[in-house]
Symmetry: C2
Subunit: 224 residues, 2 copies
Amino acid sequence: MKDGPDIARIANLIGDPGRANMLAALMSGKALTAGELASEAGVRGQTASGHLTKLEEGGLIARERQGRHHYFRLADSDVAGVLEALMGLAAAKGQLRTRTGPRDPELRHARVCYNHLAGELGVTLYDGLRARGVLVGSGDDVTLSDPGREEMARLGIELSTKSRSPECKSCLDWSARRMHLAGRLGRAILDHAFSEGWAMRPEGTRIVRFTGLGEGAFRKTFQV
Amino acid sequence: MKDGPDIARIANLIGDPGRANMLAALMSGKALTAGELASEAGVRGQTASGHLTKLEEGGLIARERQGRHHYFRLADSDVAGVLEALMGLAAAKGQLRTRTGPRDPELRHARVCYNHLAGELGVTLYDGLRARGVLVGSGDDVTLSDPGREEMARLGIELSTKSRSPECKSCLDWSARRMHLAGRLGRAILDHAFSEGWAMRPEGTRIVRFTGLGEGAFRKTFQV
DNA sequence: AGCACAGTTCGGCCTGCGCCGAACCATTCA
DNA sequence: TGAATGGTTCGGCGCAGGCCGAACTGTGCT
């Protein structure tokens, strides 16, 4: 009884709708200003400011001052992981918010999830890589096979070795309820797509917009 | 932009101290009655009842009526996973509650974490199995090696095949900030310790109490 | 220097919700 | 059938905290 970490404090921080919206917006991995986050949350600046200091004190987000702007981002990938887990759970419990705006089709097709590719294209990639034996493992526990590792190296996908995050990780997509690829490999593949000019990120959104040629090249490269 | 699952609703449920205590108590995997949960949370019966219906409606716990008792348990392992993730994050942020009661030494030594062994002994087991090559893999991404699988079979550890949960999984211990073994294998090993009579669970706690002989046998069997 | 704009701080309003006392069901046992 | 016990429902209290208007700080632009 009442041992263990103070889980309630953190959950309470996430549990306010305004703050949850801010955190969800920050899941894109992009740093946003206080004003942008205020409009995300649908509140005035003062209120947002209060929320942001609370989140900062709670260690969930980090602040970076740049001139008269304050940029905020998620504190670390642990926080992003918890948020993804919560999203997965909320989706599983059928509490989708289904605010289907006009932009939704693009979001569903390909979007960024923290630092890797999610959406239909992310799921397709994941399924394809498993079908071809690049990824092996059962359930949500996958690793890169030796031939797979060679293939990635041949394609010029560089896995950063600095981060201690796992090489491969399955990540449950809340819109499709399907797995897609996270971890260092997932990040490297998305970076590759950007640096090859196959896709770009419209400002302030989580959309990943592939060009026609780019999506073709992507599918051909990863044979999906 | 308010897309995505309603993460705030769920986080809000976990975010109340009383409810969080109840959920933490249920992490033992044991089903508890409303009264027990009320005392865990430090509130009266009526208040607890209100919390429990909210948690049930939110899909976080499941209720089972038996005579005049109502037994509650966590709804599924997804919920347990989210709670573990939150505990890990809270521990990482240094928000330990450090309510070090007299029972604490025992809790730290060996306790149950959802359905597997945690605490110092759990960490020792995990490290030992990795050092001996029973578990292989990098970081928190481990699998059972072929010789390891043989050894487990020889010891009479039966992995249930019904559950689709991963065979091996690392689980971050919030007290020691070290990894220990979860997944089907972790569960099977703990079950084995109980069925061999090495250890028992005092009612209503998360403690795993090994007998002197039992702990010796445990350490000898797994060579740690 | 003066203005515009981003963000924060302050003070006050008001709703939400956690809490409990008391009364009300349901089950078991004598 | 009545008493004891475990849970739930109801009603009312009181506080925490989210929200905003207004005033203040700090930065950049002219």
